[in-house]
Amino acid sequence: MITHWNDMTTSLQIFNTIKKFFIEIGELSYFAGRFFKEVFTKPFEFKELLRQCYNMGNRSLLLVSITGFILGLVFTLQSRPTLMEFGAESWMPSMVSISIIREIGPVIIALICAGKISSGIGAELGSMRVTEQIDAMEVSGTNPFKFLVVTRIMAATLMIPLLIIYGDAIALFGSSLIENLKGDVSFQLYFNKVFDAIKFSDIIPATIKSIFFGFAIGLVGSFKGYNCTNGTVGVGEASNSAVVYTSLLLFVIDFIAVFISDIFFEI
C-alpha cells in the first residue's frame, strides 16, 4: 500500500513538472510574441540598443577570443594523429574549417555566450524587477518591455552572429598556428586550403543558425529576468535557469537547423 502511495506521489510530481514545463513554454511563446509586436512599433530605442550591442559585443570579445583560439588549437592537435595515420594530414585545413564553421564554432561560442550574456541579462533584469526599477520605469511613462527587453533581444540577435564569425576566425587562426608549428604548413597555404574547402552552403546555414542562437540567448535571458519573483533568491534562479533553458534551446535550434540545412543545402 505504501509503495502504491509513493508511486502515485512520484507520478503526480512528474505530471506537475511536465505541466510546469509546458506552461513555461507557453509563457515564453507569449513573451516572444510580445517582442515581435513591440519591435516594429515606435518609439525605437536606438541609443539603448547601441549601448546593449556595445556591452554584449565588447564585453564578450575576450572570452570568445580565448574560447575560439583554444577550440582551433585543441581540435587540430586532437585530429592530427588520426589524419596522419591515414596519410591525410593535408586534409586538415578543410576538415577543421568545415567542422568549425558549420557546427562546432557556432554551437560552442553560442553556449559560451549563453553562460555570459543570457545569465547576465537574467540577473540584471531580475535585479531590476525585485528592486522595483522596472516598476519605476513604467510609472514614469516609459514602456520597460521596449526599453529593456526589445533592445536586449535585438542586441543579442545582432551581436551573437558577429561574435560567432569572429570566434570562427580566431579558431582557424589557432588551428593554423598548430599546423604551422607541427606540420610546416605556411599560414598562406593553410588559409588557401581553408577558402578552397568552404562554400556558401557552409557559411549561410551557419550564419542563419547563429542569428537564431542570438535570438534565443536574448529571449530566454530577458524572459527569466523580466518575470523574476522571490527577491534576491529569485535573481539567482533567474540567472541560473536562463543558462539552462538557453543551452537546451540552442541544441534544439541546432538540431532543427541541421535538419533544414540538409534539405536545402544537401550537406
Partner: protein, 247 residues
C-alpha cells in the same frame, strides 16, 4: 481645505476591490485627495496599502472600483493617454528604485526623455531638481556610490523633476536613521510648499505622519477604518486606532 466638499478631488478612489484567490486584500477602499493636501495613509503590513498604490499607478489591475486622477477614470484610458497622465504623478519608491546602470544625471533625465525638450532645458531641470534636494555634487555619481539617505533624496528629485501635481510616497522614511528621516520629511514639506503638490503618503512612521499630514486615513482589512486629522486619530480611544500610535 475647509471647503473641500465643494471642490473636486485631484485623486479619487471609489470602492476599490482586489483579491488574490481567496485573499481579499482590498474590500471597497475609497479615498479622496484634494489639491495641495498631504494625505497620510497608515495600515499594518499586508493591509493592502501597496496593492492600492500599484492599482493607482497602473502596475496592477483592480477587480472592481474606479480610480479618477484629475477627473479622468484611469480604467477607461488608452495606454498612451495613461502614460501621458503618469507624467502628472511623481512616485517615490520605498527602496528608491534608482536605475543601477545609470548615473544620477541619467536617472534624473530618464523621466524627461519622452518630452522633446532642449538640452539646456534638461540640464537646467536636472540641476534645479538636485538643488532642491541639496545634492548637486552627486550629479555624476553612480547609485552604488550613494548612501541610503542620498538615494532617497535623488529618488525624490527624480519624482519631482516633471513638476507633478500629485506625489505618491511609499514609506519615504523606512530604513533611514532618525536624522536622515527628519531631513527627508523636511524635503517633502519643502517640495509641497514650492510646487504646491498634493501628496499621498503611505507610512508606518508616526513622527512623519504627525509632521506632514493634513489628514489621515487608517486602512484595516482592506477598507477605510478611520479618517481624521493626526490629533483626532491619535486621541481616539478605539483600541485598533490606538495601536497605530503606540511606539
Amino acid at each position: 481645505m475647509e471647503n473641500k466638499k465643494n471642490i473636486l478631488p485631484i485623486l479619487k478612489i471609489n470602492n476599490l476591490k482586489k483579491s488574490f484567490g481567496d485573499n481579499h486584500v482590498l474590500n471597497g477602499f475609497s479615498i479622496e485627495l484634494f489639491e495641495g493636501e498631504n494625505l497620510v495613509l497608515m495600515g499594518k503590513s499586508g493591509s493592502g496599502k501597496s496593492v492600492m498604490i500599484k492599482c493607482l499607478v497602473g502596475l496592477m489591475q483592480p477587480d472592481s472600483g474606479t480610480i479618477e486622477i484629475m477627473g479622468k477614470d484611469i480604467t477607461t484610458l488608452s495606454q498612451k493617454e495613461f502614460n501621458n497622465l503618469r507624467t502628472e504623478i511623481g512616485f517615490l519608491f520605498q527602496g528608491s528604485a534608482l536605475y543601477d546602470s545609470m548615473t544620477v544625471r541619467e536617472n534624473l533625465e530618464f523621466p524627461l526623455r519622452k518630452q522633446k525638450r532642449e538640452l539646456e532645458t534638461i540640464e537646467k531641470l536636472v540641476h534645479n531638481a538636485l538643488i532642491s534636494v541639496g545634492l548637486v555634487d552627486a550629479i555624476d555619481l553612480m547609485p552604488e556610490e550613494l548612501s541610503g539617505g542620498m538615494k532617497r533624496r535623488i529618488a525624490l528629485a527624480r519624482a519631482v523633476i516633471l513638476k507633478p501635481k500629485i506625489i505618491i510616497y511609499d514609506e519615504p522614511t523606512t530604513g533611514l536613521d532618525p536624522i536622515t528621516a527628519k531631513e527627508i520629511i523636511q524635503l517633502m514639506r519643502n517640495i509641497q510648499q514650492t510646487h504646491k503638490t498634493s501628496s499621498l503618503i503611505i507610512t508606518h512612521d508616526v513622527d512623519c505622519a504627525r509632521v506632514i499630514s493634513n489628514r489621515m486615513i487608517l486602512l484595516i482589512d482592506g477598507i477605510n477604518y478611520a479618517e481624521g486629522t493626526f490629533n483626532e486619530l491619535s486621541s481616539s480611544t478605539d483600541k485598533k486606532i490606538q495601536a497605530f500610535f503606540k511606539s
